[in-house]
């Protein structure tokens, strides 16, 4: 991945297993988010950003010239660093995705919304105020609503870009439990600053440093017996 002439991420070869949670850790500015946003081509929004190489999603190259980016993004959901619900009602937030993909019938929409909110463990808290503005929810609730919004279009892969960095410990705990529940049903890639979080929620962990993938392995293995010296230095807190 390049921003203008400078390479932000290079020489990354990473396989993400289906149905597992993969965590990407590394110090600030190491290219974690850039890599994550490359997967659903969110980087296209940034002027002067380009990519080389291949990025396969179920065998299909994401950077193939003829690819339908909106269809791709439907298959790859994303949750952002800061909760970003639309200034609309809770219902409309979750129903937004299905609606633009052509679900019109009221009962279908209600079914999808309820199912998505249940999966995001938010249903019980908001079922009586679906018509209220989503911005009235707490930060943690907003983030779970964003997860529900992403789940409502039935993605195959869910990208999470530091989903708890703007939340308090309680809300973080909620989200982490949620990730544990979603494991198996969805393939999840989570970028995080927080090494304990990576250790808690992921099956696989990748460590990145200044744009390069240093080491990848089973979470338990990587945290207990890192192969690379820099990984060891990072997870033991010597830098970063």
């Amino acid at each position: 991945m390049f921003y203008g002439d400078s390479a932000a991420v290079r020489d990354v070869t990473l396989g993400v297993p289906r149905g597992k949670v993969t965590a990407i850790i590394g110090p600030s500015g190491c290219g974690k988010s850039t890599l994550l946003r490359a997967i659903n081509r969110m980087n296209d929004l940034i002027r002067g950003c380009r990519a080389t190489g291949r990025l396969l999603l179920e065998g299909e190259d994401v950077y193939r010239p003829q690819i339908d980016v909106t269809a791709l993004r439907r298959r790859v959901g994303m949750v952002f660093q800061k909760p970003n619900p639309f200034p609309k009602s809770i219902f409309d937030n979750v129903a937004y995705g299905p609606r633009i993909h052509g679900v019109r019938s009221r009962s279908d929409l209600q079914g999808i919304v309820e199912q998505s909110l249940r999966r995001a463990a938010l249903w019980d808290e908001v079922k009586d105020r679906m018509r209220q503005n989503a911005l009235g929810l707490s930060g943690g609730q907003q983030q779970r609503l964003c997860i529900a919004r992403a789940l409502a279009v039935e993605p195959e892969l869910l990208l999470m870009d530091e989903p708890t960095s703007a939340l308090d410990p309680m809300a973080t705990d909620h989200i982490e439990n949620l990730i544990a529940e979603l494991r198996g049903t969805y393939t999840i890639i989570i970028v995080t600053h927080n090494m304990q979080q990576a250790a808690r929620v992921s099956d696989l962990t990748a460590f990145m440093y200044v744009g390069e993938l240093i080491e990848v392995g089973d979470t338990s293995g990587l945290f207990t017996k890192p192969v690379n010296q820099r990984t060891q230095d990072y997870i033991t807190g010597r830098f970063g």
Binding site: L45, R73, N84, Y96, I100, N133, L135, R149
Partner: protein, 451 residues
């Protein structure tokens, strides 16, 4: 800088700020007070029996029994005046310049004499309708203005000489004290609230009646301008924010839009005349096939001209509002698979709505008050209220232009000061209402967005 000095500087800046705000407020009060006071005078004033007569005869309004009672008293009070005139004529003949002058002055006050045939112009069919005017007209009955040239070092000074002097010793001598004593009975002054000023058609070029044609014309022009400018403005803003590449041509385009906002409005008027009326002949397409085909002023042409005038304001407001929408909304919409256009329509524009609305309403105020662009393209001095379909081909009177026109071109500009002030006040209130609506609308939409 020492702490003491800093405090002094701080305080003097505060003082300066308060002083300038006070100055601006004072200027505003000085400007608005006469407009408000005299403008209200167009609606609330002491009317005479003649005002009721205009309403009865031309607008078929008013309480018939009250009018009949008042009219009977007035006729009875006026009878001696006409008796004296008849007596004078019997003695000295009708062919008398002084008598002619007196009769004219009396007609200004009381309307045509009972034995006189009905004059053609509406302004000659009635006497003074407003008590203030009646008092002035009465003064002109009682006095003649003469010029005093006795001091050779000075220009002539106007002096009021009692008209009674000229008729001393004739049957008319007692007419003057009678008029000054019985003015009330003859004209029946009473306070009235005349909403018709806003809702009636004008009668005889605003000598009587209201300004409905002007109000309606202004509304048509404003709404028309907004109908044309808003879609164009919002689409341009979307292009500039979301689609325009980083190219020097776009930079030039942006400066052009800003420059357009600073172009004198009369230039827009000339452009409208040259392009919409003479070249494009926009109204020709809507005229009947058998019409002469000459394209001239129309509300359509005026609206288009005003639309171009307010376009830069709307583009700017919409551009800033769309730019201010948090990037996260856009990312969220895109991440669930919405296309760019979908994202703009369903997320960006709704979130930008308060800002866009404010821009629209402010430019509505601008369009309502602009005079120069409509002089060449849409405005006429006299006209009837138009139907909606007539706006495509017909010109209209409109408030800003009519204010100027009535103040400068009207043959009796002095006698219709109240109409001029009434129009100004109506225009000011219209623009204020629009701006208030903008504030309320903005607050409501923002509240809805914020939850």
């Amino acid at each position: 800088m020492r702490l003491g000095t800093r405090k002094v500087v701080d305080r003097s800046f505060t003082g300066l700020g308060i002083f300038s705000i006070a100055l601006v407020s004072l200027a505003l009060v000085i400007l608005l007070t006469p407009i408000v006071v005299r403008g209200i005078g167009a609606v609330v004033f002491r009317a005479t029996i003649e005002h009721d007569r205009v309403l009865m005869e031309h607008f078929e309004r008013g309480n018939a029994s009250t009018f009949a009672a008042r009219n009977a008293t007035a006729i009875a009070a006026r009878a001696p005046v006409y008796e004296m005139l008849t007596a004078y004529e019997a003695q000295y003949g009708v062919d008398d310049f002084e008598l002619e002058e007196l009769r004219e002055a009396l007609q200004r006050l009381l309307g045509p004499a009972p034995d006189q045939s009905k004059p053609t112009l509406a302004r000659d069919q009635f006497g003074a309708t407003r008590w203030a005017q009646a008092q002035e007209a009465a003064h002109n009955v009682l006095y003649v203005q003469e010029w005093d040239y006795s001091d050779p070092t000075q220009f002539g000074v106007p002096v009021d000489v009692p008209r009674a002097k000229r008729f001393a010793g004739t049957p008319l001598e007692s007419l003057f004290p009678y008029v000054s004593e019985h003015l009330d009975e003859m004209l029946q002054p009473h306070w009235t609230l005349y909403w018709g000023f806003l809702l009636d058609d004008s009668l005889d070029a605003h000598m009587f009646g209201g300004i409905w044609a002007e109000i309606l014309g202004t509304l048509y022009l404003t709404i028309g301008a907004v109908l044309f400018a808003v879609p164009m403005g919002i689409i341009s803003a979307i292009y500039l924010v979301e689609y325009a590449p980083d190219h020097w041509l776009i930079g030039v385009l942006r400066s052009c839009i800003s420059t357009l906002a600073g172009v004198p409005s009369i230039v827009f008027g000339l452009f409208g005349l040259a392009f919409f009326i003479n070249t494009a002949q926009v109204s020709k397409y809507f005229m009947a096939a058998d019409s002469t085909g000459v394209s001239s002023k129309s509300i359509l042409a005026g609206s288009l001209t005003l639309a171009i005038l307010i376009l830069p304001v709307i583009i700017r407001a919409a551009e800033e509002a769309i730019r201010a929408v948090p990037r996260t909304y856009k990312e969220a919409a895109l991440s669930v698979g919405a296309g760019k256009w979908r994202t703009i329509l369903t997320v960006m524009l709704p979130a930008a709505l308060p800002g866009i609305l404010t821009g629209i309403v402010i430019s509505m105020g601008r369009a309502a008050g602009e005079t120069a662009p409509i002089i060449f393209t849409a405005a006429v001095s006299v006209g009837r209220p138009l139907e909606v379909w007539q706006t495509l081909t017909q010109p209209t009177p409109a408030l800003p232009w009519s204010v100027y026109n009535l103040c400068t071109e009207h043959t009796a500009a002095d006698e219709i000061r109240h109409v001029q002030y009434g129009m100004v006040l109506t225009l000011v209130v219209l623009v204020l209402l629009l701006n208030t609506a903008a504030i309320i609308l903005r607050a409501r939409v923002s509240r809805r967005l914020a939850g």
